[in-house]
Each structure stands twice: as structure tokens, then as C-alpha cells.
Symmetry: C2
Subunit: 249 residues, 2 copies
Amino acid sequence: MKIGVYGLGRFGSFWAASLAKRYPVVGYNRSPMRMSPAGVPVVPLDELFSCDTIILCVAISSFRQVLKEIAPRLRPGMLVMDTCSVKIYPASVMEKVLPEEIEIIATHPMFGPDSGKDGIAGLPLVFSPIRCKDSTVTLWRSLFNEMQLNVIEMSCDQHDREAAYSQGITHFIGRVLDELHLAPTQLATLGYRRLMSIVEQTCNDPIQLFYDLQRYNPYAHDMRLKLNTALDTMLSVLDQYDPGDRDLR
Amino acid sequence: MKIGVYGLGRFGSFWAASLAKRYPVVGYNRSPMRMSPAGVPVVPLDELFSCDTIILCVAISSFRQVLKEIAPRLRPGMLVMDTCSVKIYPASVMEKVLPEEIEIIATHPMFGPDSGKDGIAGLPLVFSPIRCKDSTVTLWRSLFNEMQLNVIEMSCDQHDREAAYSQGITHFIGRVLDELHLAPTQLATLGYRRLMSIVEQTCNDPIQLFYDLQRYNPYAHDMRLKLNTALDTMLSVLDQYDPGDRDLR
């Protein structure tokens, strides 16, 4: 068994190096790499396709294009796995673009070089078999379990619904608050310091990931509308019951 | 020197008991108390006014009414201190309602029974002398310093401006998110768990305190409008650059 990781950006490099601690891994990147990830030989595209399993680590917004390019070069029986932070969209694209003889598992490793800097044991990986043999599911579930990951099996639909109202809303609020350029203050309460750390952490991720999370998760639009409605409700409640006591110098 | 605390609600009881660890304190409450705070005899209103210093621990929205009731009973030379979570409004009301011979210091102890449950050493107290002798300022600054509080001297205006964009925005977001009834999920990231803890903590405070903070801080309205504008901006950015790739099953 050999794993080929397509896309060695920030996350792809981290994930390839993590897998390479236990399994044979090679990597490919469209633009040349200055340094290869630890334990991961960087190979030409032809050599990548000699692997049994291809793991895609590309931006959600590039996903369909990359998949169309590689589809004709895959061999029957190969397994393709995505790692996108949304799941319905890439699963649907993989099912349509990849030939019938290719097996498909959708995954979302919910960590990266920051959260996984002290190791990935115990961290969550969402695992959603789309089109494959039972033996392939059993194999990969046990490989991820051996890496001590917290393997969460759920449907792509459930993933996107829950992610919109957890990761999605957190990143949206982080980006909205960033617009206000909030400053540190001597008056900072614990809650405010937590809010500041959310802004800092979410704005540390590439803006493209933010846009992709918000646009390619079909529940994100609804989440943003609900948040907007809740804000409008709260604004009008505060205006309605105005004390009128405006003795504010 | 004897301190009289007017208002033995959740915060008033805590503050009276904290002061009583070092100084003689009596307390008064409009409705009868089942239990008096540790070290604080609960006394009738007449006896409260035998103190040299009266500390008011009443809701911001009741502040003017309470002050009008007690003003005729104060003796020249007494010191009145408020503890409201906004500062411009109570300082202005105290200056207008209290006779010239009464000294005034505005304070905001930025803690309570939750944050101060393991002691109040190091916690911030905003301290803003409004109308009093230098010797009174020196005395009280040193009394609070002896309690190991972090005494922050700032104007009422600066307090309200900075509080609107720290404590105020945190509580506003907490209440808005509470409307969405966010649920725990296996997919919870660190950022989401921090967001959930902000909701929990802010909604633990009485709703009246939330309304008062938002309505009696003259900068809070502007903060809410700016937040609303930032949210609208982000919503329209996301709609404008829609990928159009709507292959979402």
C-alpha cells in the first residue's frame, strides 16, 4: 500500500508528514516545493498515480478542476479521498467526475499544523464512505484508528449542517469582529479576552478557506441569515424598551 | 470609619462581604434578607446613615430613584460611591441629585461572586473621583490597594467608551447567539467551544444588567450599529463573490 498526497500546501504538507510517520507516502504539488514534508518524497505527477490511494489536499474552490484533470489518469480499483472542510460538495463532485471503478471516501481531518503541533492523537477526523467496498472502509478506519485519531463516522449532510452552526458561525463572527478593529483594554473581562482570541485564531487561516467554508456549505447561508435575524431582533428589543432617561451629560 | 452598603443583591452581598474582611461594614436591603452576608450586620435604613461612607449596589435603572430617596437623609461630609457597570450616567445623576456638601467617587468593581470566588486580589476596580477632597481620594485609593485590587483610575467617559467595545460587545454577541440555541457537537473546534462558553457566561448574568449595560452606556448604541454594519458588509461580500458552483445534491 502506498499513499499519494496531491497538494502540499500548509495543510497538505502537515497531513502527508503525519501519515508518513506510519505508512509509505509520496507527495505532488503543482508549483515546485522548496522543501519536502518530513518523510515524504516529492514526485512527478506520473509517479503519484502509481499509488493505490490518492488523498486530495486542494482548496475547495479548485476541487472540481483538479478532479477533472486527474480523473482520466486513475486506474480501476484506486481509492480517492478528499480532505475538504465541507463535505456535501466534494462528495457530490467526486461521485460525478470519477469513473465507476474508482472507490471514494470523503474525510475531514479537523486539525492542522497549529492544533496538531503537539501531535494529532485524540483529534477528530470525520469519515464518510461514499462509494467503496466494505473491506476498504474497514482498512482505512483501522489505519486512522492506529494513528489514534478520533474517527467520527457521519453523513456528509450531517457534517455540513453541524459544521455550519459550529466552525462556520465561529469563523463568520471572527471575520465580522475583525472589521471593527477591536483593541486591547485595561477593562478586558475574561469573556472579552476569549472573543479576541477567536478573532485572532480565525483570521490566522487563509481568507480563501473562509470564503470556501461559507460558500460551499449549503447550510452556511441559512446560518448567516439566522444570525442576522437574531441580531436584528436584539437591536429592536433594545430600542423598544429604551429607558428614556438620557441624562448622559 | 464605617461603610454602609445600600443594596444586598447578588453583587452587593459579595462586595459587602469582601469589604468586611478588612473594614467595619453594615448593610441595608429594601426587601428583607434571609441571610446576611458574612461579617455584615443587616441594619435598618436609619442606622445605615450613621456610616461615613455609603456604597450603592443597586440596578442602574433604579439608580436615580434610590438616590433621590436617600439624598435628603445624608449628612454634610459623607461620601457616596456607586458601583454601576456604566459610569457616565450614575456620575452625572450623583452630581445633580446629591447636595454640594456630599463627596462623590464613581467606581466599577469589575468582578462578582463568579470571577471573585477564589478571592479578589489582582482583579480590576475602576476608580473615578467626581467631587471630593484630595484626602478622600488618597484614603480610598489606599484602602482598595490594601485589598490588593488592581485600581484603574480613568474618566467616566473613557470607561464607557472602552467598556462598550469590550464587555458591551461580548455581552451583546452572547445574547444574540443565545437566540440561535447553538448545540454541542462532536465537530466542536476550540474556537467554537470558546464561543459557547461566552454565551453561557454572559447569559448567566441577569437580563436586567444586560439591558442596563446596553441602554445606559452612551457608546453602546454606536457599537451595535458598527457591528450591524460589519455584518452587513460581510454578508454582501459573500453574496457578491458567489462561486455559482451549486452542485450540492
